[in-house]
Subunit: 113 residues, 3 copies
């Protein structure tokens, strides 16, 4: 069935990630603004040229529902597009989805993607 790929990335990398997913033919995406920290909590992380001493750094959270079969290449592509090589590049995780429904048509399962 479908997988849900969730990614928390640097906000300025959203355009690159969108492009990478489009190139794979991914039809949809949901984005929200979040804040977070990883292993370097308490250390500085650079955001928009400013150093953040604070714990929470602004990030973008992305959710993409994909066909099970495409999950691995979506993840690889997303991770490559989001990477800068500097700390704070982000985290991606994959979960299993029991059911998907497209509201307008009522389609279910992979047809609903």
């Amino acid at each position: 069935m479908a997988k849900l790929v969730t990614a928390v990335i640097k906000p300025f990398k959203l355009e690159d990630v969108k492009g990478a997913l489009s190139a794979l033919g991914i039809a949809g995406l949901t984005v929200s603004e979040v804040q977070g920290y990883g292993r370097q909590k308490g250390h500085t992380e650079v955001y928009r040229g400013a150093e953040y001493q604070v714990d929470f750094v602004p990030k973008v959270r992305i959710e993409v529902l994909v066909d099970d079969i495409d999950a691995a290449k979506v993840v690889d592509s997303l991770v490559a597009a989001a990477r800068t090589g500097k700390i704070g590049d982000g985290k991606v995780w994959v979960t299993s989805v029991d059911e998907v429904i497209r509201v307008r048509t009522g389609e279910r399962g992979l047809d609903a993607l």
Copy 2:
């Protein structure tokens, strides 16, 4: 056990969805503001009377924890309430939850809903 029903819908449909869930006796709900696109990325979608040429359209993300047994009717009811018949109506997905805890009482499982 419990299921998590997540829906990304048109913001003006939130009240209808809330009503539909209340009518089913659903006790709680979590809502956040997101942006997204579906299959018509790059085409226009109407939001508050304005046409969006942009990729990202404002949506509302809803999360509802429900008893496994109620999941199907919650989904049907939510989908019906969110539908306008126009593109961009939204996506709903269901995932399995291992454990739920009600913070105030420490109750677990279905009692925690």
Copy 3:
């Protein structure tokens, strides 16, 4: 593998929860602003000294990816830190994660946490 612990709590309890998780050596955290209601929808709930008659009360949503083995103690500790004993203290749920990737290094699985 990994579990995802999601919590919707009172915003002023975020610092306590962060402290409790740090004390357990939890490396990262993602936070977003949400609104919600639980079982007392339509009744009042106090937020920043004001009584909310409205349905939606501002909450903070926390996501923590943890090693399976640590999930139970993370939940207990988070719940204890978030509790005030008053209504609206929040909900915590645990889901299973198929895969985690650390974007900068490409590490996978528990190494990625």
